[in-house]
Symmetry: C2
Subunit: 478 residues, 2 copies
Amino acid sequence: MVERIAIIGAGPSGMAQLRAFEAARESGAEIPEIVCFEKQADWGGQWNYSWRTGIDQHGEPVHSSMYRNLWSNGPKEALEFADYSFDQHFGKPISSYPPRAVLWDYIAGRVEASDVRRFVRFNTIVRWTQETADGFTVASENLADGETTTEHFDRIIVASGHFSFPNVPDFEGLENFTGEVMHAHDFRGAERLAGKRVLMIGASYSAEDIGMQAHKMGAELVTLSYRSHAMGFDWPAGVEELPLAVGFDGSTVTFRDGSVREVDAVVLCTGYLHKYPFLPDSLALSSPNNLYPDGLYKGTVWQGNPNLFYVGAQDQWFTFNMFDAQAWFVRDVILGRIALPDAEDRAADIRHWLAEYAALPDHDSEVVYQANYIRDLIERTDYPMFDLDEVVRIFQSWQHDKQVDIARYRDKTYPSVMTGTMAAVHHTPWLEEMDDSIERYLTPVGTASDSRDDAIDVGTRERGVSAAARVTRPTSRR
Amino acid sequence: MVERIAIIGAGPSGMAQLRAFEAARESGAEIPEIVCFEKQADWGGQWNYSWRTGIDQHGEPVHSSMYRNLWSNGPKEALEFADYSFDQHFGKPISSYPPRAVLWDYIAGRVEASDVRRFVRFNTIVRWTQETADGFTVASENLADGETTTEHFDRIIVASGHFSFPNVPDFEGLENFTGEVMHAHDFRGAERLAGKRVLMIGASYSAEDIGMQAHKMGAELVTLSYRSHAMGFDWPAGVEELPLAVGFDGSTVTFRDGSVREVDAVVLCTGYLHKYPFLPDSLALSSPNNLYPDGLYKGTVWQGNPNLFYVGAQDQWFTFNMFDAQAWFVRDVILGRIALPDAEDRAADIRHWLAEYAALPDHDSEVVYQANYIRDLIERTDYPMFDLDEVVRIFQSWQHDKQVDIARYRDKTYPSVMTGTMAAVHHTPWLEEMDDSIERYLTPVGTASDSRDDAIDVGTRERGVSAAARVTRPTSRR
């Protein structure tokens, strides 16, 4: 009998898993029956933008934390697929830090080339999972019509991500703060922060990028507030970094060092939860956001039940190509190409990686650690190996660029590790570019000053249509 | 063997159910084992205020749609418990339209008088329910520690409410609107709308009250936008009512009649969903918000499985005392004091009520219909009958008051149907009262101008402490 596999989530991790199975099928393997549950109406996970916040049209938590003006905050050369290059997708060099729509187009383009969309049940949410004698039962709901279904699966691959459920701490007096308060998860664009005094609580990527977005869009003052360590970039005038906010009173905020600011809006950039409301505690990963969550052999196989897998559960320097490395590994375990060691040996392997992680001296070594983890996976499958050491160097160079100029690092370019192609210098520096559309991005323009008119000339924006396809190559199926 | 009963939700409906069982126990009846699941940290449901929006500290949808400045929008004399009067709780007459904290204190006061809090598992969410040969299994999660539990119940009472999951329609161009957009569910206070141009989409209680809150707090212009019928009140200067908004472009909104407005913020007052994500479709009520959802015998007993009950699933003219009428009825069915007719007769009864509902000519007759429904329930139990016709007259008078002055109707007073006590004229008209605290409300003050200082004199605010208890009567257990 053919095995039945559930993939939960069709974001970048789930799409990698679909692609992994498809690659095996294309080279002649028999693959199991696959059902991929996706609660959104389209695939792409975080990379789908919606104006919605909080609760969506079906009464479900909005999945994506995406905002209108997001551009990649790391070089695309560090996340490129080893089996599908940017060159292949766009047919010409593009810059190293593309906006959201361009990256969405890239990851969708790979899976649209095959017929894996048929495996995905869109608008379908997994409600509850139970372990049974011979696998699992999964109860799901079709959000379009409310129909619930309970069915058997032999294995489950959890690919629902861990940047969707905001971690929202309380702060003294926040219940009486009369300005706007939101978590970064619900931030959709900084335009309305123009002229405002904005407080970002947090010292990681969300605070850094949303803070700089607010600055770009004309905020009067952006105050970043850190709990333990300042980000310490050479912030432009109008951006400052203070210790933790400790109290709110009306519109007044007091900070740990005694500083006081009047603020109009607060964005809680306080991270996300590992949350799997569709799993019993025996199956649910519970971890802080780190590079090696405990309980996962090779970062993917649930130690408590090795028929359960997680893809993309790690904190991420590497992203898309790490999900690939994991998805190929999980696929090969399921196909029987990789024999799982027994529980004791798996536990020893987990201990080994945890010990190594605990011993890391600094941030730079974290990148090397994750590169080594990915190498260990790729060596066990037929996923194309790539120069992981070079990606580590790109990450180091990226960090250097940010130290030099946090407002200009996105204008830098890097060569592809996969093809050697040097990225193009984008026609408009990030700080001056106010149009994030893919049409604007892919169309050569002379100067920044005529950017908005040019973008309009390219054609009307159509939602859900691959503009890259329209502009540069034959349309793939959507 | 003692039956096990699950009550899902400890808001006003679940608290009524707890009180109903407790009343039976006090008069000597044996009651079943009760577990009340409550995902919030305290009881009171909607009547708990939190600054949180969207997703809460546990990664769950925020339950309450409460905002800082909410005052009852109907006379308290229409919702008074028949077995626990406002006189009994506050020890003195209070006004007819109290603010949130006062009503919270009242409903909590009744159940705090007994020991029913021990039945409630706070911070515990029901994940999934399954029908079994002899009842149900309920899987729940303790949100504090992530522990999941699956257990058997003989009957389930769903009291989770239906004003928690927002109905959030899409509007053309909203993805590029750069101002603030929220559903009324995420509205927490109108202070920051001062000086702003605010659009409310909707023509029911949320639009009316949030619109008037924004007006009270100094919004430059409040535009209310209706789909089918205008509310048509005699709006004060600065408040207007237009047909439906049909398109957004930047900060520009176009309306169906061709009107155009520039707006800074949009509040979608577009209602709520009946949503029960913890129930399979065979048990989940699916209904628009109306006075008689189909499939519920006597508005409470699930026709598809009469061991499942709903309390508070109706649209509501009557509120707290209707939940009581339902809770007493459900209790007596469970205790065997009321014999359920067979399925065919139950279906006939449902058809009877549905036909009557469908034939109602107008709004006024809806109140009478709900009064008749409540009378039908109370006559079958020992819940104290009260003068339902008089409550209908109060509702009619209330509607008249709103027609006369939508900004001043809350200054009117009504006599209690339960005790005959005439409500007190509040020390400060609603439109001038900027302090909604229970301390301020319960303390006699001379004039509006010294209100804030007086409130502070009463004592520091303590979260979670019953201020009514502190000010006017011995503290009950919290």
